[in-house]
Symmetry: D2
Subunit: 465 residues, 4 copies
């Protein structure tokens, strides 16, 4: 679970773990806390699981990928601040009477608490107590009497929330996407096999061709020769997470037919229309705001310049020496180029503002290096509500835009002007119908029922048979 995890599945004529390893590296931006690979060992006739903490490269440092036998497998990169043991990483592997089940999950199951309670009452014992264990247990129950696809359909009736899953059932390998298609999942064809992954960049590194996205509500089984589709569920509307386009996904991915880079650029262009600025220079916040900034510059005619340099070596594990220097950390991460900003009116472009702290530091920094004016332009609407299907924001109070109007936010971040893209402008730039996007965090209305929150459509659709 967690918003940004990356998942992979592969079936090939050769051993798949090197391929999965490669594609997990391409999904590294979706989770740096842990990584895992499960493969089916034909000889021992069971699923084996390998997990480790840290980047993919670190997690598998002591494992020789070439020694792992198995032509079907799945993989996972884990995003969290809380993981303490590789044991809690994914894939989650469970041995059942029906056979071995392994799961890799991107998303959040909103009714996992009730499910766990119900499963325990029914006699299931949890090893970790995770959402993924619950899903595996449900599957195992349904598999006693049903085919795999029917079992999955039953599972989907039980679970609510977001899920892009790769699943192994003994030597079979699958991809599954929730009925609203909240989280991305796509399928590719490579030399001698097929692959499913969170983003197309994971196909690109394998030299695989994008076949198409896995459809909302669709289960896909992969073999080395092809794939079989089971459209288990069909909702009237989709609820694709717009934040994937804004920030989560890598700019070189294509999600649900929409090019991420181009979307960001169009958002930048739209921003320039909605919030023009009398300025000398467009400066992106590196690297998150770069594509949006290109668009803003393009449309506004204001030249773009890399006025903020990022220190690429300050990573996850940086150790601050003294309390005293801690406030200078922003200087270590980001440094304005004086020759660009001195005496200039700057348009500073980023993808979003969550708490606002870093943005204020960057505005201050630009001024301290001589910027005359700093006009902030943001590629997403104000984030005013929590995300229940991905991002880990527990309270509205932490959001700078919650209960504040734009002018109040502007003052807090010390900007000369502040412009957020409108919801309409953003929707248009993405090019997906507003009713097919999840806009929960910017509207407070959610596509799925969440206790205490407004639901998008009054009448709940009859779910499915």
């Amino acid at each position: 679970m967690r918003e940004k995890c990356g998942v992979v599945a592969a079936a090939a004529k050769a051993d798949v773990s090197p391929y999965i390893y490669f594609s997990l590296n391409a999904l590294q931006h979706r989770g740096q806390e842990a990584a895992g690979i499960s493969v089916y060992d034909d000889e021992e006739e069971k699923i084996k699981c390998y997990k480790g903490l840290g980047l993919v490269n670190e997690a598998f440092r002591e494992i020789d990928m070439n020694s792992i036998k198995g032509r079907r497998g799945i993989g996972h990169t884990y995003y969290s601040v809380k993981i303490s043991s590789p044991y809690n990483a994914q894939p989650t592997l469970v041995h059942t009477s029906a056979g071995d089940i392994a799961l890799a999950h991107n998303g959040i199951i909103t009714n996992s608490g009730e499910l766990k309670e119900r499963l325990m009452k029914e006699g299931h014992n949890f090893s970790m107590g995770s959402e993924e264990e619950s899903m595996a247990f449900l599957l195992s129950d349904y598999l006693k009497t049903k085919s795999f696809e029917k079992a999955v359909k039953s599972l989907m009736k039980d679970i609510e929330g977001s899920y892009a899953l790769t699943i192994m059932f003994n030597n079979r390998v699958f991809g599954l996407r929730d009925p609203f298609g909240i989280k991305p999942l796509c399928m590719g064809k490579m030399d001698g096999g097929y692959v499913i992954a969170s983003e197309t960049v994971a196909l690109d590194v394998l030299g695989a061709e994008l076949v198409r996205d896995v459809r909302p509500g669709e289960l896909v089984e992969l073999t080395e020769d092809g794939y079989t589709s089971y459209q288990l569920v069909e909702e009237k509307n989709k609820a694709h997470c717009f934040f994937e386009y804004i920030y989560f996904a890598r700019a070189d991915s294509v999600i649900d037919g929409k090019d991420v880079y181009m979307t960001r650029k169009k958002i930048g262009e739209q921003l320039a229309v909605e919030h023009p600025a009398d300025a000398d220079m467009v400066v992106p916040v590196p690297d998150s705001g770069r594509a949006h900034a290109y668009g803003y510059s393009n449309r506004s005619g204001i030249p773009i310049a890399e006025g903020l340099m990022k220190n690429r070596y300050i990573g996850r594990t940086f150790i601050m020496p003294t309390q005293d220097l801690r406030q200078k950390y922003i200087l270590l991460k980001t440094n304005p180029i004086r020759s660009i900003v001195r005496g200039k009116k700057i348009v500073l472009v980023d993808d979003s503002i969550v708490r606002g702290t870093t943005m204020r530091q960057m505005v201050d920094l630009l001024r301290s290096r001589g910027a005359k004016e700093v006009h902030v332009r943001i590629g997403s609407p104000p984030i005013v509500a929590p995300c229940y299907f991905g991002i880990d924001m527990t309270t509205r109070e932490q959001l700078i835009a919650y209960g504040r109007d734009v002018e109040e936010i502007r003052k807090k971040i010390h900007a000369d002007s502040l412009g957020y893209i409108s919801i309409e402008g953003m929707v248009k730039s993405i090019g997906i119908d507003r009713n097919d996007l999840c806009l929960g965090c910017v509207t407070g209305e959610y596509p799925i029922k969440v206790r205490g929150e407004k639901q998008r459509f009054q009448e709940k659709l009859e779910k499915w048979e």
Copy 2:
């Protein structure tokens, strides 16, 4: 599982993890592959588990024992050559509808295969597929309708084999010993609490007084103030593993009322009676044969001398440089003292011979340093059959005494004479009735039914109500 694991349980007025850590260190000889501690966190109202690979000290290197809150807990040291991940270490923790269950096990469940199959059919899903998971699942099922002690009694009807267990059920902590008392388990009282452990040495390091051994078939619940006993099952005979006295246990332990050091010394004395030698010097194999050698010397009047020195620094993780030097490894581990052995007739005393390779190397070594004669005396009868309740010997063929008489063995180990203690002599030295010992590995007759093996008593006792 595995023969030599160490288990601990503690209930105290203060946080118990430092105490468990201490006593696990005293049980280090029972398992060096991994270690784990489970405690009940009163605040979070759940059992937490901490595990790591290697010696106790290494396994918990990065965990501050003082930061672990919880006044009830259990611990385990793991013996195996196969463990690859702390995940597979013990205690095994399972979350059930009845509550959290954690188990630490010393012993082998001989019908674990069937149990696992049955549990899977009943809908249980396994995370590791271990014996301990099976036991936890059985417990969880019985706990739906029964008190803890009744649930344990039901569990005992299901499982066969050897087990000395420490168990947590939410914030309650227990010790349990199989009906035959195959593996040791004892109870002590310390300042402000009670403790259960595999051996008395684990009580000694806490300054705890031995209360008594946990009885075969007995479940004991500990609190900080005392203990409650449930004699769940009572067999007519016991089947204490004689090898604990010979080799497994530390010489400073007392097991089932018998002092291990004294037992070994008596065995040495008995050996001197059964197999006298015309020799100049008694030399122990360090450290395993030392107590037996003292006894042999004592009775025979032949002076004892430490003719073999052991290099204490050559440990588990030693790396051999070249193939060429590999045969010299014995020289690195053990070195004869020339002044003691040169020109002498030596009685070389050890506890047992399994495969015979090391013994032959030591006999050769003594000769190469000038020993005139080497008379080998062994503190256990010939090991002719597998152990199904502890030691990991899969095939009879690996045993030097299987299918060979003593003279044939003598030749293979290059000794001038060879004497094993008789079964009777050994039983007398231990001081426990022959019918109350498990002698399976030296007789081929087992106290519990094992497929394809002879059982000790023709008629199976009516098990119990």
Copy 3:
């Protein structure tokens, strides 16, 4: 030594090691192999040295910067593929009769072989045999009879090559730059002290103001209150390394009065004039070609787009799984964005071409993702000769431009057209007189005598008094 090392020196009212640690992080791009800090311990009255392998953050993982006492110190980041032990990292610390001497060096001493031989003949014994040890030994000899500044002047007569040095002599701390100013070195004033560093970015992270560059041939002594300058040597011409502006330095640095980012942008503009292209899109090679690409786009009017995405997580320590996948490594590092490149005529801009292998892979990659044409534009003239003062290129044969004309190179890298900036164009863009730049690697004529190579000025200048 080695081209890209970073050096720092600081004198302050507070302990300096946290400051040095911070500024070394800003110089991380100048060396990732090892890092070291030397400070003068006032209490113990000696220089202490702390070194480690890897990134600055890794090298000092187990050292608490706050516990290092000392208000004067120097630091170093080490660039090399060959270092195996922190012992060989810098600063190099030597205890002499004159006192403790520590050195941190960026550059290459071209006559180090002869110097070492001479010093050994004179009775000096080497611990590592490095250039820095030689320099420390020479200093120690001169210090027997001379003041520090005079000793340094004598040292400068002995050594040839490039050197930007920070030096400690007991509790005194200095910066020194070679007479030609080949490698950069600048000085800043921070709150409560002064600092010297390879680049201004190392001042920026401390919130320090740039005072000025250290002058070629100048020795500067720092105290917490100010600095003293000794202009020991003055050459008629300088020989600033042009490659610092092209590639080595961080874009947000200012070197010898020239802004690196602006220089790169101007080079891009000049490239557009010298080598226009009929194209749809300017695409930078990330991150090295970005500033040049902005310039090219700006002048040519061809829009810029980030057509190549870089995977930021594939670092120094990446482990390739199989031989088979090794050729796909480029795909893991760099991924073209299809929507940008498909069907487009691309101008691909980078700073330089050394061997040409990566450039050819990138051209091929762009074509495979649908680029119609790929026009390569390079921000430096063809590299035709070795660098003796910095870059580690041992043989001309490895250089793609050695012995090939532009058309031949174009074919080898599979480009539709290829344009290198002219030497004149580059010199103009930098804005420093051609006679004050070292252009050795693009002209084959060197500012300093190198055995077997042409020297720039026929008559050697009378060196100095």
Copy 4:
């Protein structure tokens, strides 16, 4: 330096590093802080050095011994509590005009301060400032005009103190022992080569035959075919450290013709004569007092029993959990066997008492487990003065025997009686003339001049030509 370091040298027809590695393991008891190996690389024509922290096995964990080329080499195990970096480990390698010099040292140079000062004045610069660097520098100076053996002779005139050295000079390899033979050094012949080491146990592991001890004042050069002896210096008397026989050396070594085990046993016998006891049982302090205890039991007729068990797993790196449990540490290390000690009058035998803390804890422990009386017998005379040639005891005040008579010590350690062996008794047991032993720490009179201390012989012998 430091008392207990181990040194090795080898010359063979095959690569020697695996042999050195093996023999260093046998000398592990002489130093566990660090280890190092230097070999001469024939191809590169220079000495290479490999060092690491920890046990030999740990120090070379990441180095493949089989990949180190070189048929001549030396090795070292380092004893110290202060080493922080492998850089400070030995061998110490110096590159000089005469060639490469590497040194491995056991002992202490008492005039190293003056030597260092003199060498610095003469222009030598120190990298570490160690005694070994001083010795290498002196050698390098003499080698300018002298043969190696003459250079060593000159070195010996300069240095005072104890030294058993192995030395490499380019591809030549040597052993050297100080004129008084304070520290042990012996020579062996193995298959295809010769070896020198601190103790014979290091020869034993190689299957090497002891040729003889290196003589005091002798330099020995090894080749694969034999050795050459240079008796450079000859003192009238020797000063063999008696503590090697009592404690430092491994019991299975033979030093200067005397068997260590036998010596310890004889000391135990002599103790029984000098200090008889009315007791039931002789109990050794494991493992240091075992051989002495055998002797005591042997002579007194009082049976010996292993009344104290040692936990073999509590090693150098043990982490104590809480302050509270720290006082129970002795229980973790050592556990009395109740059945042996209960109700008994015990003779507790150990090799020596330094501070007395541990001895008092053990006496208390025995009593707490029921011992009726505890009579302590010590195999060395009271230690009343510092050792300047080996053991690191800085102040007399830390010695329990300094300024206290035996009765006072007895009270402090809570013993019923206390008997130290007499100097005469000990000397007789060792079998070396009293005038040929260093008894400094038990007499306060030293064989070599030490500032502020009494010297053994009034008139200083004319040193040598």
